[in-house]
Amino acid sequence: MPSAARNLLRVAVSALALLAAPRSAHAFCGFYVAQADAKLFNQASQVVLVRDGERTVITMSNDFKGELTDFALVVPVPAVLERDQIHIGERKHLEHLDAYSSPRLVEYFDEDPCQEPVDYDGRMYKSAPTTAAAEKMSSARSKTLGVTVEAQYTVGEYDIVILSAKQSDGLETWLRESGYKVPARSSAALQPYIKQDMKFFVAKVNVKNQRAGGFQYLRPLQMAFESKKFMLPIRLGMANADGPQDLVIYTLTRKGRVESTNYRTVKVPSDVEIPGFVKGDFGAFYKALFEQAHEKAGRRALLTEYFWDMGWCDPCSADPLSPEELKGLGVFWRDGQSYETAFLTRLHVRYDSAHFPEDLVFQETADQQTFQGRYILRHAFQGQAQCSAAKGYWERVNERREREVQTLASLTGWSQATIRERMGKDAPKAKEPTWYQKLWK
């Protein structure tokens, strides 16, 4: 955007921006000043799906708050997993991925309208860092219920069993009798998976190991397997949900952007100019924007919040992940000889039983056009501009602020009156009425 570049004489840095992304000081497209990460949304689960061909690595973050003995995770998997296919990931990698791909706020400061414009020779992008329980149930009882324990392992703080089942109600009973707190009516949700000959990965916390490990939280569980199915089972999670749930899916792939094949995938509104006060309340702004976009898409869509090649970012809300971090999340094709990039798609879905009747199915496309949720603050020149050029400038600033009010209202559903009030002295002034408006008022 060359004209925008010419308008940009001085780009000031907020303390927050310096703290968060010190190296973005010369980025071309504005400074990152705040982010809206996944923690904003209550009950947001996060899943990382790494996929190339049929090879898949899933990382599931556990945000479980409650008695550890109550924790149970049941995930349908395509085959019986061996011990080596299960791994414990690092939470900080997921947090970094979240920070890197979060919707971001950038800000620009207008130049003095009375000075000659100076061309801003900014860099278009920033390089990446160069381095790159065992169950006690008798087998006879299991047999009666049609459940087979295919394998059982203890991995880190988790006791894991891999089950196959013949009937869904048998499986539900088995889980309950084995001490897993599964919600009522789980069997209806379990049945389609049994019919498709899928296995069940069932995890609960081994409290002894958990205490011995000294972790204050549950670490992410990872699974590696091969499957034709590029999908994410979400139906089981709805069995005990008392409202919509937020899920952030990060896919890391080799060719391009990932989208759903059985639900609409839309991009969140982005690259819009909004009033300056949002800087102090970016979280609330993004939550409202997401709700509004979700509503507009009929509550049946996945929203793309970010799509980028993991090698760089612009502006960066956090540094790109290092090769080690990517490997930690399961990117298996960067093996020392090959530093081929990975594409990150961040999909945010708010699902409930009524609007998402079936699991999410995905496809990887060849689309490599980068996208980010990016919101722009433009601060008017603060000095005393009194030359003749300044009059036109202040008119344009007023028009811009009026547009910002309209944009913010339509993106968030906030009332224009509230927005104007919150803008304070920056609120756009009403235009001077024309002589004929005054005449017939």
Binding site: A188, F230, T261, Y263, R264, T265, V266, K296, D367
Partner: protein
Amino acid sequence: MLHFDVPPWQPPLIIATACATQWGMTRLMRVPDAGYRSALISSLGLSLLLRTDTPWVPALAAFVAISSKFVIRVRGKHIFNPTNLGLAVCMLALGAWCSPSQWGESAGLLAWFGIFGLAVAHRSFRSDVSLAFLASWVALKAGRVLYLGQRPEVLLHQLNVGSLILFTFFMISDPKTTPDRRVARVGFAASVALLAFILQHGFWVNNALIWSLCLLSPAVPLVDRLLPSARFRWPVAVAHPSIERTPECPPLPATSSASP
């Protein structure tokens, strides 16, 4: 609200290329002018389904689609549905993709109503191929939902897909690329549905309908040889009977549904 997510220049580029190809190939191959209706229908399909990052791919898809009608022919009939072949070639060789669910469910519902309205009003939408395909597809999908014990909403969700509507009424319905005899047409439509179902649910292949039609289309000349019948021609033949008449085929009633 429809948000097709296609760059605004793409549909005009596709239409222009398709019409230009139709014009050029008609002259190059010295065949009678068949009008632009088929080219426009192909353009509609490509505009709605084809997704690509590369600016020249939509034009190439339109060119491949239309020129295939003139080049890939057996006994006076072209083999592939133009839209289908254009999509298949671009997906297979040029990294293009289809976004089957991009219409959204409200748009899908509107399109179903629109299509059924047209079917009532206009007989060319009442093709036996479309109806046979739709019946087979719904039966297979409903059977799967029942077998898996899923809720009926799942079936509705799977049928409310824009690309399915387009496929049913603008792609497989193409009277020029389906068998001549009615019973063979119905069998062909059911086979396309069955193969697509197997590809989608047995092998997890995306865009299974497109691949299924593409794979089965070459069998049509063989079916025509085994089960010969009179040939369909576009309704324009009624207005200008001399244009479309070919020596080996007698003039026919206007629509496929009226043929024996």
